[in-house]
């Protein structure tokens, strides 16, 4: 495959045309249609070639090309999704779609960041649906726990983590991009601006969901491992801890006055220095 050859050597830059969305190759004497799906660092843009509109994948980041074959099952899913979401596909395009044999995911990786991430893919910084995040509980009420998102698991944090995007970096006169809606009262005390989230009491655990008491599940200051349910509204993501490996990972005894506690089962933590036990919805520490 011609694309694979390019993979190692060339340095791509924003605007670099990678390939058309669809391609036809000869394989074992058969015609095989290949579809390329844009992933991180790649965008799909319409181009006109000799008066004909075609979709082309272009790079949006500086880095090296990476092309992966999508697993068969997933590719069928993706096709179905594509067809349902793109209502405006023209007749010949949807015809192409039905013949697709192979689907490749195209992304642009930056070597500079590889050492910094847990997974060696260059990934986007923003929390998105399905991501596992680490969050800190900022306040609790009977119905929900408010949290601030500290990091997205298996993804690199932005360079200015703790200062700029997560903290008190330079802010433009009048509040910059957040101007219209920014309010000092919503800024957390020591981390500055962070993405906020809500864990509703129904989303704390998977069983016996009506009996959940937020007070017995989280305390302000706890570090919680949670999954993003949805992007939520303008100010909050919706999170859930309804899984064995999700829940409180770090908590301090006596509302933060004591030392770090250890989980002894899924709903109890113990302070080793005093032996006191406290209730939490704990994350299973081992796989």
């Amino acid at each position: 495959m011609a694309l694979a050859l390019k993979q190692q050597s060339e340095c791509l830059y924003p605007g670099y045309m990678i390939c058309p969305e669809f391609d036809v190759v000869e394989e074992n004497g058969k015609e095989c249609i290949i579809k390329y799906i844009p992933s991180l660092g790649v965008a799909k843009r319409p181009f006109s070639v000799d008066g004909k509109q075609i979709n082309v994948l272009i790079a949006t980041l500086v880095g090296n090309l990476s092309v992966k074959l999508q697993e068969d099952l997933e590719s069928q899913d993706a096709e179905e999704k594509d067809e349902s979401s793109e209502n405006s596909v023209t007749a010949d395009q949807s015809d192409d779609e039905s013949k697709v044999h192979k689907v490749y995911i195209v992304s642009v990786k930056d070597e500079k960041h590889i050492g910094k991430s847990v997974r060696d893919d260059f990934t986007n910084n923003l929390p998105k649906e399905g991501d596992i995040v680490l969050a800190r509980v900022t306040r609790i009420s009977l119905q929900r726990a408010n949290v601030e998102i500290l990091a997205v698991e298996n993804q690199r944090t932005p360079i200015d983590s703790g200062v700029g995007s997560n903290g008190s970096g330079e802010v433009a006169a009048g509040g910059g991009s957040g101007a219209a809606t920014f309010s000092v009262s919503q800024v957390s005390s020591d981390l500055g601006e962070t993405f906020k989230g809500i864990i509703r009491s129904q989303d704390v655990r998977a069983t016996n969901r009506d009996k959940v008491k937020i007070m017995d599940s989280f305390k302000p200051g706890d570090i919680v491992r949670a999954r993003i349910l949805s992007l939520g509204d303008g100010s909050n993501y919706n999170l859930t801890t309804a899984r064995n490996d999700l829940g409180v990972v770090f908590a301090k005894a006596s509302n933060g006055a004591g030392g770090l506690m250890y989980a002894i089962d899924w709903e109890t933590m113990v302070a080793p220095s005093t032996g006191n036990m406290e209730l939490r919805k704990c994350a299973k520490p081992f796989e």
């Binding site: 340095c11 830059y13 924003p14 605007g15 660092g41 965008a43 843009r45 272009i58 949006t60 980041l61 500086v62 930056d110 070597e111 960041h113 260059f122 986007n124 910084n125 923003l126 932005p158 360079i159 200015d160 200062v163 700029g164 995007s165 997560n166 970096g169 330079e170 802010v171 433009a172 006169a173 910059g176 991009s177 957040g178 101007a179 219209a180 809606t181 920014f182 309010s183 919503q186 601006e193 962070t194 993405f195 906020k196 992007l231 939520g232 509204d233 303008g234 100010s235």
Partner: protein, 238 residues
Amino acid sequence: MNVADRRRILGPLNAKPLQFASADGNLQDAHLQETQSGDETLYIQQGIVTNANGSAYLEIASPTKNDQHILLLASVYGPRPTRGTFSARAALSIQFKENTLEQFTAGEVKELCNFLASVFRAVINLNRYPKSGIDIFLNLIQYVGPSGTSSLEAIIPACINAIMLALIDAGIETLDTVSAGSYKGTVISFIRNGDEIVGFWADNDFDNNGSYAVTVDKCRRHYIQNRNAMLDYIVKTK
């Protein structure tokens, strides 16, 4: 005179003054580059603002244009969270500040920021960053225009180049490597190898005698010089 100095806290008697290791000069050289683009000399350095997500410092000298000098620093913060209503795309704000001499009025600066924001709204892949905002800061450290005059059109291409390099350093997705060219008070910003225009700026003293086609062509040439210089730098420093 044997009274102890009580005004300050003195260190222990055997204290030694702090000594810092000398900076390694070779380390920096890798990121420096001087590029000759046409009649201009361009000096680029990325990532010098450590607490920003990305930054770029630009020095432009044009000996042919009566020794015009521009020193410019662009820094990119974000994507950071926004509050209030849900937005599926990122919000963008651009701030321009003159660090030394104030040569432009507040109105001109605002106009410039609005122009730059409209250019970059067309170029940044805003859909990738829902519920967040990107803040860009431009610091004009020095600007010496031809024969002491100051005009915005001279610095706009530099602003666009600096922001583009800062965005690349920040790893923010952009649909193209945008740049601009200027000719006789007109600045045109292009993408897609000069096939598409994303910004058009005409100063008051626009030369009415010259045709638009000539202006666009001259600007495109300048744009291609600028863009090639940037791409050269990006590919070499990779």
